[in-house]
Symmetry: C2
Subunit: 455 residues, 2 copies
Amino acid sequence: MRRFLFAAAIFSLALPCFAGDFQTAAALCDRALGDPTAWHLLESLTAGIGPRPVGTPAAAHARDWAVARLKALGFANVRVEPFAKPSWHRGAESAELVKPYPLRLAVIGLGNSVPTPPQGIEAPVVVLRSYAELLAARPGAFKGKIVVVNQPMTRTEDGSGYGAAVVTRNGDGEAAKRGAVAYLIRSVSTGNGRAPHTGAIWGHTPVIPTAALGVPDADLLQYLAARGPVRLSLKLANWVDAKSQAWNVSGDIRGSERPDEIVVIGGHLDSWDPGTGAIDDAAGVTITVAAANLIGKLPRHPRRTIRVVLFGSEESGGSSDAYLAVHKQELGKIVLAGESDLGSDRAYAVHLPEGAVAAPALAMLPAVLAPLRVLVSDQPAQHAGSDVSGLEKAGVPVLAVDQDASRYFDYHHSADDTLAVVDRAQLNQNVATWAGLLYLVADSKLDFRAKPVKH
Amino acid sequence: MRRFLFAAAIFSLALPCFAGDFQTAAALCDRALGDPTAWHLLESLTAGIGPRPVGTPAAAHARDWAVARLKALGFANVRVEPFAKPSWHRGAESAELVKPYPLRLAVIGLGNSVPTPPQGIEAPVVVLRSYAELLAARPGAFKGKIVVVNQPMTRTEDGSGYGAAVVTRNGDGEAAKRGAVAYLIRSVSTGNGRAPHTGAIWGHTPVIPTAALGVPDADLLQYLAARGPVRLSLKLANWVDAKSQAWNVSGDIRGSERPDEIVVIGGHLDSWDPGTGAIDDAAGVTITVAAANLIGKLPRHPRRTIRVVLFGSEESGGSSDAYLAVHKQELGKIVLAGESDLGSDRAYAVHLPEGAVAAPALAMLPAVLAPLRVLVSDQPAQHAGSDVSGLEKAGVPVLAVDQDASRYFDYHHSADDTLAVVDRAQLNQNVATWAGLLYLVADSKLDFRAKPVKH
């Protein structure tokens, strides 16, 4: 915390070569570090409502919570935009080691998996140590078997280990092609806790029952399978509600000069079910609401409107397309979009659209963010978040805030994703980063669609 | 360490779908984790020889050390390639706070800086909080002043905070244009220790005396300057030896089938002077020598030759161009190049040339590196290291190993860069990563210059 107090002290001084905007933005960051809003919102959304999968009563509670909180904070134009979203529902789940000795394993079904028959599936197990091994196997190689892929995930600050590991989650079709009757993966996790990590199967129609084992359980099976026959019994009871709904909720901090030009930011209200969705993504919801709220309390709003969108179906997809569909006619007015969806640990870099990285209008941004130890990257923003990917593909420029993801995948999509893993000082450092950044981009007249002039 | 023991255990088993190469590479990684070679070399190069700036007797000791060690380990074709390299030599240095109270500050001159007059420079101080502020100031704004830029550096795992912060090191010309008589920077460091961090000024002829303050001293000046007049006295005595020499030293592990095709890897023997250059870059030297040495001890060498080049002048430039100049005629035979120059903390990702990322010949690489928790990135390698940048620009394909740089810039170029900050388990995890990677690329017949086929 010493660092943050120090930051507060120097914010009270003017830089000799910057003025006006710099002082407002720096004071905003300073206030954010001490503001309790994000933490209080985070408590009420997670402990107060609990897990929020699409199609559950809690998802509707979260919608009502969002409307009430945005209104209470003074956001304008608070809207609920419903959309149809079939939902997958977890039932009873179990995995039991049958051979070489009986043991109950930690297991969780993957979203969109097909269920097992009610009596379950019992079969011999084959354990592969990498997804590449599955792809290298010949058709029929695993006939009648339960295939386990025990590929570990690399811990990295930028979360890049996730992409390399999460491919395993979609391997049910590849396993089925090779004769497998069920498909299990090592949880996509950097941790070593027993709690398994769920997540959705996407991009194809699931084929065979698919679930994630706790990390230690996957290692155990590998140990046993290298020494003799292993048999498992797997039961997954789950069902789909084809008629459920989800909602995107939004509220605006109205621009003072160009209110029809909109900066869209947000996080997602929905969550997986084993934890309470604190880092994924109550954190993103509360960071962006708290940052916009502080800007809304300024005596003069920035020139452009800031819209916080709380997306309703990120985990199994849908809210990005839904938002795009409703706002297709006004895309030209969305000047910039971004999302906070990588937890609550410290921000360390921001990325701007290509045309803005070296723009003189944002020359003071490094000085605003430096006391927070956040750098302004010379790499343009890309892939600003799943919920704004629709806008991004439709040509809306994006910004991104890199957060320390070193711990994130220890908890993500597991029972451990609760308020207990959130560090309040780091949460507020994120609010400060978003507040300073948002204020400057929303108050600028920059055309973020313009490409930089080459010299 | 538990992780490494576990890795060793599973290496003893064959994967069902890969064979031959996989087992050799996996066993090599396993041996590397327990091999004492890198640690012993690191001790003798740092504690045994000390700091190794170009133009000092220690640089020649390091050359002789390299020749003797490479020969003793059985490397073939051990060569010394001398080149002319003018050298900058540090003399007595001091910075004293004169006003508001007397205090000796921690300071270190930057490489290539001009000296002060023998009596020093005493002048009022202006403190800027970012480099952007210096660039935004009008000509003459700092007439007769000592300019201090106190821009902090962001701690990141990938070291990307360095690029944003190190620009300050070259600001003497910008400060001089605005009237400054001397230029001081906050050490380019993520730490909070008092020891200042040096480094070279590059890309222009230095104009005014330039040095780095310890991080706490720069913060102190900022505090004081915001409250009243501050005066400093600065003395830098340094000189240039225009006639000095440096040397690149190399040795080969001769290929068994295509000995004329060469994979060039290495680190740099030279170092800055305040510490003993353990992480920068005795680590890179010893990691690559130890990895190649293990491969050289295999009953069958890989098809291609592995050449370890120990570069002689990275810190103030020169060894990359020198290597390129000597080997210009054989560039077509250098199939791949890479360098280890980011300390000794754990490797977490490897990057291959674009044409090799998805090549079936390297399909087992993820499984080889997974027990080390190193991922194979889908991003092609770029900027593989300063000493191979000449080869890279000349069209030689490169590979890169990403290391955890979170701690690296706490010590880099300072008195704290010693053996004491090296973690031996992480050092060996790097040797294992390089050994597995090198074996597979050197034994492959892949043309790394080929671009991937687009489907």
